[in-house]
C-alpha cells in the first residue's frame, strides 16, 4: 500500500516482526490519598503490573518513567530504578506532558526493536493532589505557557484551553452543551469504574451551571487532580511466551506523533492543531493498516472537554465541527457508535496523564473490563496531548498480532 507518510511501511514491518505486546497492567487506588509519596505510588503500580504479568522483578530489563510534578528530579528514571531496586539495561524518561503515557509504549517498543531491552516497565505515579505546594502549582501553570510573553497576562492552563475552545465555538457554531456532553459521558463511564474519583451523576445543566473557570470552560469542563499510580509492561510475544505469561497479550499495531506548537502565541490557526492530531493519527493508522471505522474503542486525552472534540475530528472519526452533536447524541457511550474513555478519563476517573487510558485500552482488549466491557473489542486507539493541544501521540492496539 503506497503511502505519503515517510517510512510507514518499514515501521509496519518492524512491528510485525517483533510482535510488541503489553503483557501486564497495574493501577493503584486513585483519588485523595494523603499518606503516600510519589515514589510509593510508582513502586506500588510497578509491583501490580509485574504481578499482573506473573513475572519476577528480575525479568524487567528496561525502564521508562515520566516525571513527577511533586518530587521533581533531574533524572527521573534512574531515581526510580534506585528506589525500586531495579538494574535496567535500558532506561529513559519521557516528558512530553499529556502525550507522555502513549509515547512510553512507543519508547519501549523502539528500545525492544533495537535490541536495548526485552521487558520494559513503563510507570508513572504521583501524589499531585495531596503533595503539590501552592508554589509548585504556580510553577506548573507557568510551565504551560510562555513565561515572558504569555504568563504576565495572567494566562492559566484552563485559560489556554479556553482560548482554543472559544475559537472552536466561533468557527464551527458549536455550543456550550457540546463541550458539556463530553463531561457527562465521562461521568457515566466513571460510575462503572471501581477506582474512579467522581461517580455521582452529572447532567448537561450541571456542567453549564458550574462555576466558570475560564470562559467558555466551566468547572466540569476541566479534569480533576488526583493521587495515584499506574504501570504497564511492554515486551514481545516471544519473550512473553518464554516467561510463561498467562494474561492475554495486547499487540502494538501502530504509533505516531504530531507537533503543532508549544506556545499558543505561535499558533497560526485552528487547522494547525487539527493537522498535528491528524499527522499523529495517520502515522499510527497507516502503520496499523486500519482507519477510524475499524476502531472499536477509543481513548482520547480529555484534560478539558474541548480536547475530545478536537481529537475526534482531527483523527477523522467525524468531520470537522461535528464532534459536538456526536457527543451530545450520546454516541461516545459504551454500547454506542464509538465508546470513548470507558474508564471515565481525566474528567472523572483520575488524572495521571494518559496512563489509565493505556491501561483501560489493554483491559478492554483483554476482555477484562467488566461492566464497562465493549462487546467484541478487537482494536483500540489511544491518543495523548501535551501542552495546550500542542504535542500529540497516538497508538493503535489490537487483540491479535498485526498481520
Amino acid at each position: 500500500m503506497a503511502s505519503s507518510i515517510p517510512r510507514v511501511e518499514e515501521a509496519r514491518e518492524i512491528l510485525k516482526k517483533h510482535k510488541i505486546v503489553i503483557a501486564g497492567i497495574g493501577e493503584t487506588e486513585q483519588g485523595k490519598i494523603p499518606n503516600k509519596s510519589s515514589f510509593q505510588f510508582l513502586s506500588e503500580a510497578s509491583k501490580l503490573a509485574i504481578e499482573d504479568a506473573g513475572i519476577k522483578k528480575e525479568d524487567v530489563d528496561g525502564l521508562v518513567t515520566a516525571f513527577s510534578l511533586v518530587e521533581q528530579t533531574f533524572m527521573h528514571c534512574t531515581t526510580f530504578a534506585d528506589y525500586f531496586g531495579l538494574r535496567p539495561r535500558y532506561f529513559s524518561s519521557v516528558a512530553i506532558g499529556g502525550a507522555t503515557a502513549v509515547w512510553m509504549v512507543a519508547e519501549a517498543a523502539m528500545a525492544i526493536a533495537s535490541g536495548q531491552a526485552d521487558v520494559v516497565l513503563c510507570v508513572r505515579g504521583d501524589n499531585t493532589l495531596s503533595g503539590i505546594s501552592s508554589s509548585g502549582m504556580v510553577a506548573l501553570i507557568r510551565e504551560m505557557c510562555h513565561t515572558e510573553f504569555e504568563f504576565p497576562y495572567g494566562l492559566t492552563t484552563p485559560g489556554g484551553y479556553a482560548l482554543a475552545a472559544q475559537r472552536y465555538l466561533y468557527e464551527y457554531n458549536a455550543r456550550q452543551e457540546h463541550l458539556a456532553a463530553v463531561a457527562v459521558t465521562m461521568r457515566k463511564h466513571a460510575a462503572l469504574k471501581p477506582n474512579a474519583m467522581h461517580k455521582e451523576p452529572l447532567t448537561i445543566e450541571d456542567v453549564i451551571n458550574s462555576r466558570v473557570i475560564a470562559a467558555p470552560l466551566h468547572k466540569y469542563d476541566c479534569s480533576i487532580i488526583s493521587d495515584g499510580g499506574a504501570a504497564f509492561i511492554v515486551t514481545t510475544e516471544e519473550k512473553a511466551k518464554s516467561l510463561g505469561i498467562q494474561k492475554p497479550l495486547v499487540y502494538l499495531w501502530g504509533m505516531g506523533e504530531g507537533y503543532s506548537h508549544q506556545y499558543l502565541t505561535s499558533l497560526k490557526n485552528l487547522d494547525q492543531i487539527y493537522n498535528a492530531i491528524e499527522t499523529s493519527g495517520q502515522r499510527a493508522f497507516k502503520t496499523a493498516g486500519v482507519g477510524p471505522k475499524d476502531i472499536d474503542v477509543a481513548f482520547l486525552y480529555d484534560c478539558f472537554t474541548i480536547t475530545v472534540l478536537l481529537e475526534l475530528e482531527g483523527l477523522g472519526f467525524v468531520p470537522k465541527g461535528e464532534a459536538g452533536p456526536f457527543a451530545l447524541e450520546g454516541r461516545l457511550e459504551i454500547g454506542k457508535d464509538l465508546p470513548v474513555n470507558t474508564h471515565g478519563g481525566l474528567l472523572s476517573q483520575a488524572h495521571l496523564g494518559a496512563m489509565h487510558h493505556v491501561v483501560e485500552a489493554t483491559a478492554q482488549l483483554r476482555g477484562e473490563a467488566g461492566p464497562r466491557q465493549v462487546k467484541d473489542a478487537e482494536v483500540a486507539l489511544v491518543h495523548g496531548n501535551g501542552g495546550i493541544v500542542s504535542a500529540h501521540s497516538t497508538i493503535i492496539l489490537g487483540k491479535q498480532p498485526l498481520s
Binding site: 504556580v138 515572558e148 504576565p152 497576562y153 485559560g159 472559544q166 505561535s266
Partner: protein
Amino acid sequence: MSETTKENRKYEKPLPEFRPETKPYWEACKRHELVLPRCKACGNVFFYPRALCPNCMSQDLEWIKASGKAKVWTFSIHHMGPTPAYKGEPPYVVAIVETQEGVKMMTNIVNCKPEDVRIGMDVEVVFDDVTPEVTLPKFQPASV
C-alpha cells in the same frame, strides 16, 4: 482594568524576565512603542522575539515599529488567575490578537467590559506601566 496601575500597592502579578534577545522589545514598551522583530534576510516578521529567524535561521534581524492595530483572534474571560495575587480580582480578559503585521500576541483586552469582547473585534495597543521597570502592552477597543 485601568490603563496604568501606578498605585503604591506592590505589583505582585507575574512579570516577564528579560532575555538578551528580547530586551529591546521591553525597552520599546517602556517608551510606549510596540516593536516587532523582522528578518532582514527573508522579510519574516515574527513574534515572540528570538535570537534568530524561526523561518530561515538568519541572525540578521531588525526591529520595526508596529502599527499597534490588531483584531481579537480568540479570548477567554478568566475568573481565576494563575497566582495568589489574582485573588479577589474581577474577571479579566486574556486574548490572542492578530496584529496588522500578521503576528499573534497574547494580551489583555482592557478599558471595556469583558462581556463586550468579541472575536474579530478591532483593538489598538495601550501601554500599562505595571512597575517602574516593566510596561506591558495591552489592547483596548479601537477608537476609530
